[in-house]
């Protein structure tokens, strides 16, 4: 017998082909950060330098989801945790690290503007931008406003940002980062 399946798990599996060593969708709290961070270092140990970079990029982007995702889950300890997706894709010469999560449409403009500034700057300009932004008062839970800047510095490649409208209030925000092996 078959139950009704709103998600085709075979399609899902195929879309995450053999070049996807890791994918996750769900709430992102410290336990998940720790577990996935640990797996990343192991899975990518053939390319230790790139693996280390993917780890650092993962921490920054995953913490952004944890704090700022517009989709949240209430865990058993009643803590409200941001939900989102994390995915690593492997090519011959590089890794692509991706995250996706819902954001409120009101927040979209500032994220896109910041990403455009980041992509327009060279390495030294990025460092200067990071120092300036770090001086601003801290955000929620001590956020330093420099996660995306650090991601661009660590990856040494431009950020690939995509925003797709979901409804009147929300969009799906995704970011892909290329890390050379």
């Amino acid at each position: 017998m078959h139950y009704r399946r709103d998600v085709d798990i075979l399609d899902f599996h195929k879309s995450l082909d053999k070049n996807t060593p890791l994918s996750y969708k769900g709430p992102i709290d410290d336990r998940i950060l720790q577990a996935i961070g640990f797996y990343i270092e192991g899975l990518l140990k053939a390319t230790p330098k790139a693996g280390r970079k993917v780890f650092k990029i993962f921490i920054e982007l995953a913490q952004n989801i944890s704090y700022y995702s517009a989709e949240t889950s209430i865990l058993s300890d009643n803590k409200e945790i941001g939900t989102g997706m994390v995915l690593i894709n492997e090519s011959n010469d590089y890794y692509t690290f991706m995250t996706g999560n819902l954001v409120k449409n009101d927040d979209i403009v500032s994220i896109i503007e910041k990403s455009e500034i980041i992509n327009s700057l060279d390495h030294d300009e990025l460092r200067q931008y990071k120092r300036e932004q770090r001086k601003l008062p801290p955000g929620r839970k001590g956020g330093a406003h420099i996660g995306l800047i650090q991601v661009a510095l660590t990856s040494a490649n431009p950020l690939d940002i995509e925003v797709n409208p979901i409804d009147d209030e929300h969009s799906f925000f995704s970011i892909a980062v290329k890390i050379d092996k």
Binding site: P48, K53, K56, E60, K141, G142
Partner: protein, 130 residues
């Protein structure tokens, strides 16, 4: 004045080891730092340093031995350095050492970050290879 001793954790939370000693003036921050709430963790460390520079007024040797820290923690490191810089400007004796592993995969990134700390705070940090 009491010492602060926090055992670092490499588990669910990545808490750095903290060893602030009021008798010797030696303060150490070691290990890894990416916490859920950085302000919660670092606030008592700022308070301790402010009390030390106001009451004990002896020389401080501040040793960083961090392997990894996230951007939120980097802001807290800046705050610590700014407290030390002010103490130095007010006549205190301050030595800041950053111990690093020259064999670390991404050591250039780390050294660049320390350079940024120095530019941002105007405080000299001695780079000490392990």
């Amino acid at each position: 004045m009491e010492n602060i001793l926090i055992e670092g954790k490499h588990g669910v939370n990545f808490i750095p080891t903290v060893d602030f000693n009021a008798e010797t003036g030696i303060c150490e921050l070691a290990g890894e730092s990416y916490l859920e709430d950085t302000i919660d963790f670092y606030s008592p460390l700022y308070s301790w340093l402010r009390q030390y520079v106001a009451e004990v007024k002896n020389p401080i040797v501040y040793n960083f031995r961090l392997r990894y820290f996230n951007t939120s923690s980097s802001k807290c490191i800046i705050d610590i350095l700014n407290i030390l810089k002010k103490y130095k400007d007010d006549g205190g004796t301050v030595e800041v050492n950053w111990f690093y592993d020259a064999d670390e995969e991404d050591i250039e990134d780390e050294l660049e970050e320390i350079e940024d700390f120095m530019i941002e705070t105007n405080l000299t940090i001695n780079l000490v290879p392990n």
